[in-house]
Symmetry: C2
Subunit: 331 residues, 2 copies
């Protein structure tokens, strides 16, 4: 059954509360929303396409969750406080109200208010475009630019889980234990590290979230900061599922992407530990920032400044290929 | 030829300048953009789908223009000053760099800065989702809610042009004169009434842009304000092309939509004329707001409060059907 657009809008407004009403001067339902923004506005947009960015046969709940979570992860990487989001939904005629409700519940579960949106008809895959809005005090935004030689390189949580989970889903492997269950959950319903991002204000010198893959995202940060890094292989927090799903665990962990962990640099190790404790998130020190613009993971990956720049730009890198990491592609 | 995503991002960054750099604390290229927002933030999002919201065979220049213009029109209807926009582009593999450049030039022509965006791959139609950001001083936003009995009802420019232009394009009619040429242009490249929206702050008591069709958009405004209106048939500024393209001119003008003119109410006629003069836009007085919640266009359309509410919700209205206005459907 398919409700008229007006009723669908009502359905979304009921399920997706506007959040902190004190910020909302003119609510959803006018030509635009009007919000009070204390400090500076942090804004990001990402479109997720069915069959490309989320699995068409996964529950719509997880598609809604993921579409919002990847945008909130960008806010987290800037150290921002979310104030709301807008969703533009392109839905085919066959998309049922039950699916829409499931999709909305997936978004609502993240606890951020919806301040506006749009419905469009599409003769093709579902497209969910989210624009997330956040705030940060003047001078407090975490960017990719501030890493300095001598800083530690850190990552939250564990890497490789989302890619391992994707492999399990694509291969239709049985979910045999909690590690694998956790990896599938990481793929379907990633957790944006908002509390950690906030706690890292004034602590991290540069920050990015792990979306393309740890090495490629690190290359974005290193090139923006005009530095390099040496990583310690044994200190990489690889998710145990990455060793259990039949792929190359290193490829899953370093090039798999979609973990939506925060990858950051900082000079004060004790302050990082305090931020991690405050946010109740595990944080690992992977290595150190170097003045030289290359990237080294002893014995495994040795990249020159030019290689890192190429990886920043999304080009294949010979050294990665030699390490067996070029074969992995995003779904 | 298709450039890698990094080069495409560079292409867009070159063509779509960020606009007022003083507002931009952290530019495009990080996880999110950071902006200074003087006053309140006004934010709206609209997705346009190829073949539904814009013609797949029209120049990509006009698709880019229209996608941004319809969002800027929402800012105009709120009386907001644009500060920038984000674009999320879902493009099929076959979409060429030349098309992308054409699309970007269509956006760039509107003179508003691009502060961020996203590329996604789609196996389907092109989807362009724009989020427009604007500012407005506290208490200055124009909403749909403030119309009062006795206010005049006004519309900028002329109505029916965009629908007439669409009919010309769909029927592959020859463009025989300047009226028809102007109508086609109105369909392909609508003009957001930003200067008028700003000039109407403190003058208009309620405002909306004409996107769904004059009567339906008016119903949104009347229901939000809990009032009705009487319109004078002879005072409707119908575009001359609406009488020349073989359709029902009244249907095109009243139900066609996509004119992106401002439809507003105001108590002070002299102030409206001054605002129109300041914005160098023609404005017509169509009628008057009534305390009764119905809508009347003498002899043509007589709607009760319930009819207006039904039209506000997007349901078919018997009276419109009687006036021969139910046959028209958006492309």
């Amino acid at each position: 059954m398919t409700l008229p657009e007006f009723e669908r809008t009502r359905l979304l407004q009921r399920l997706l509360a506007p959040g902190d009403a004190s910020a909302l001067v003119v609510p959803n339902g006018d030509d635009a929303a009007v919000l009070r923004i204390p400090g500076n506005l942090v804004v990001t947009t990402d479109a997720l396409v069915e069959g490309v960015d989320f699995l068409g046969w996964a529950p719509w709940h997880s598609a809604g969750h993921k579409a919002l979570a990847v945008n909130l992860s960008d806010l987290a990487a800037m150290g921002a406080e979310p104030v709301g989001y807008l969703n533009a939904l392109c839905l085919p005629r066959t998309f049922s109200d039950e699916n829409l409700e499931d999709l909305a519940r997936g978004m609502a579960g993240l606890g951020v208010g919806c301040v506006g949106g749009d419905f469009s008809r599409i003769d093709g895959p579902v497209v969910i475009t989210i624009t997330a809005l956040g705030t940060v005090g003047p001078g407090q935004a975490l960017t990719r630019r501030g890493a300095r030689a001598g800083d530690g390189v850190y990552v939250s949580g564990m890497v490789g889980a989302a890619a391992a989970g994707l492999k399990v889903l694509m291969d239709a492997q049985p979910v045999t234990n909690d590690d694998v269950r956790c990896a599938v959950e990481a793929q379907l319903r990633p957790t944006p590290r908002l509390a950690l991002g906030r706690a890292l204000r004034g602590v991290a010198t540069a920050c990015i979230d792990v979306s393309d893959g740890l090495l490629q995202d690190l290359s974005h940060l290193l090139v923006a900061s005009d530095v390099g890094a040496v990583l310690v292989k044994e200190d990489l927090p690889i998710h145990p599922a990455a060793f259990q799903v039949g792929g190359n665990a290193w490829t899953l962990a370093l090039a798999g992407g979609e973990d939506f962990e925060l990858l950051f640099t900082a000079a004060d190790h004790a302050a990082v530990l305090a931020a991690a404790a405050a946010a109740q998130v595990k944080v690992s020190r992977l290595g150190q920032v170097t003045a030289d613009g290359g990237l080294s993971l002893q014995g495994m990956v040795e990249l020159t400044r030019d290689d890192v720049t190429a990886m920043d730009r999304g080009y294949p890198v010979a050294a990665l290929s030699a390490a067996g990491m070029a074969g992995f592609r995003h779904f």
